[in-house]
């Protein structure tokens, strides 16, 4: 058994930003464990641009954004174990990992979970039909194309209009494939509006809402899919079925935070986010174990992943340095129109202002968000529109929070 002050699981944008933040807070003994051959996580396959506008003030591609943080990790001499798979985490912060040199057992003073997400697969969808080759999750197709140079298909239907599906629609079109349609089960797209414009409209790709893939056809390879509309309960209306010939079906139907280690360690989870329950520094309910990035909540923008990871890194460093908050945390809760609020608990004596992140339940026009503790209004914010695909951030001022008592709820009301 070796000992390290902070062990970070996952070398994507969250893990790297957390490592740098912890180091800069004075904890120099930080190690990063990553299962891939090089750090960067999913950004390595996200070759499109649009990253970094908020965080770095310039527009970068995914690999460039990752490289900014990779350099910061390298400059600080933070040890990165690549091709190293963590297989176990205990509540008293023993991390067990495997790589080519064997089994590593590390006793950490603090652990930061930054494992990210995996994609929901066909098996989770119960799509009827045969099981031919040519059905890919969108991110897998992205990796095959962008990192390994394989065009995964020539005639494509995409199920799911989340950002990865939209980005892949453009990518495949640019490489000469014909994208026949993007189908979305919900009455609205889960992706950013800018991606609908620059990935679908630019290439004349139709987006069908309230529509799903009812059946997959083909013996060895996909030969076509039947798409059909759904009713308000999302049940397929068979009479609307329509056959689209294609050789490839891409699934962009949601991300699942990869929390097997978290659950095995007995860390309490939020059933809505699929991630751990955390406080404002992203500490889970198990002392000394922190979480950040997509393993905690699925983000739209990597910029906010980096912000969140910095909080976790600073929190973990403070924990290692012996800081403990004695105050009783206040619980947060989702009120009218809000699906979840993160962090799920906040210390009233937190350092500085605290940002609450949330998603709304449905698309809205102009809305006002109100953060309340009991009858006390802690913060309000007006937005021109709100959509489930766009995470909202509300900031509660330090002095307001210090006086708060009771549960903190966030709700929205529609404005005219």
């Amino acid at each position: 058994m070796t000992e390290h002050e902070i062990v970070i699981i996952g070398g994507g944008p969250a893990g790297m930003a957390a490592a740098v933040a912890a180091y800069d807070r004075g904890v120099k003994d930080v190690v990063l464990l990553d299962r891939e051959a090089a750090p960067g996580g999913i950004l390595r396959q996200c070759i499109h641009n649009g990253f970094g506008l908020h965080k770095l003030g310039r527009e970068l591609t995914g690999p460039e954004y990752a490289d900014v943080y990779r350099r910061q990790v390298e400059e600080r001499g933070i040890r990165v174990y690549s091709e190293t798979m963590v297989t176990k985490l205990t509540p008293d912060r023993v991390v067990v990992a495997q790589n080519r040199s064997g089994v590593l057992r590390i006793q950490a003073k603090a652990v930061i979970l930054a494992m990210g997400c995996r994609e929901r697969s066909r098996g989770a969808l119960n799509i009827c039909g045969t099981r031919p080759a040519g059905v890919y999750s969108a991110g897998t197709a992205q990796k095959l194309m962008n990192c390994e140079g394989y065009l995964v298909g020539r005639r494509v239907v995409i199920l799911g209009s989340g950002d990865i599906g939209l980005i892949m629609a453009r990518r495949m079109s640019l490489e000469g494939a014909k994208v026949e349609a993007v189908c979305e089960l919900m009455p609205y797209s889960g992706g950013l509006t800018r991606n609908i414009v620059q990935c679908l409209e630019d290439f004349g790709i139709p987006l069908y809402l309230n529509t799903t893939v009812a059946e997959i056809h083909g013996a060895r390879r996909v030969e076509g899919v039947t798409v059909a509309q759904v009713d308000e309960n999302r049940n397929i209306r068979p009479e609307t079925g329509r056959y689209i010939p294609c050789d490839t079906l891409l699934l962009s139907v949601g991300l699942i935070p990869e929390n097997e280690l978290t659950r095995d360690a007995g860390i309490p989870m939020d059933p809505v986010t699929g991630g751990a329950l955390v406080d404002e520094m992203r500490q889970t309910a198990v002392p000394g174990i922190f979480a950040c990035g997509n393993v905690l909540q699925v983000h739209d923008l990597v910029d906010y992943v980096s912000d969140e990871a910095e909080l976790a890194g600073q929190g973990a460093a403070a924990y290692v340095q012996g800081m403990r908050r004695e105050s009783q945390p206040l619980q947060t809760a989702a009120g009218e129109g809000v699906r979840y609020v993160l962090p799920q608990r906040v210390h009233p004596d937190a350092d500085g202002d605290v940002s609450l992140f949330l998603r709304v339940k449905a698309p809205y026009g102009r809305v006002r968000f109100t953060v309340r503790a009991g009858d006390e209004v802690l913060a309000t914010a007006v937005r021109l529109r709100a959509a489930p695909g766009e995470m909202e951030k509300l900031t509660v001022k330090h002095d307001k929070l210090a006086q708060a008592a009771g549960e903190i709820t966030v709700s929205l009301e529609e404005l005219q």
Partner: protein, 115 residues
């Protein structure tokens, strides 16, 4: 002439209304000056940054990701892609290395390092 657009400069995605009269564009709905510029450009000469990959000739199954260093005319994206697809480069490559001097008026640069 009026056109309704969604700004693609940042994830905020402002809804823009662009009015074109006598060849000059007036933009409303933008939250920042970049949006006004985008709205006007999109109605007169739309441009896009193209990102793609180029095969690394002296490595097995390795692609280097690339982008046009500046946006190119939107209607030249297909032409740019043909040019990019035909390219072969040799490693080592550093981020920012110019891999082609002129792709539809822009330099093509590497966006990831290849050892």
């Amino acid at each position: 002439m009026k056109r309704n657009l969604t700004c693609i400069i940042c994830p905020r995605g402002c809804s823009l209304e662009v009015t074109i009269e006598n060849g000059s564009a007036t933009v409303t709905g933008n939250a920042c000056p970049k949006g006004a510029q985008y709205g006007a450009d999109e109605c007169t000469h739309p441009t896009r940054t193209v990102t793609s990959t180029v095969r690394v000739a002296n490595r097995t199954d390795v692609m280097v990701s690339v982008k046009t260093a500046t946006p190119i005319p939107k209607d030249k994206m297909a032409q740019a892609m043909r040019q990019i697809r035909a390219l072969r480069v040799d490693a080592p490559i550093a981020i920012g290395d110019v891999l082609a001097e002129d792709v539809c008026g822009a330099k093509l640069v590497a966006t990831c390092p290849i050892q």
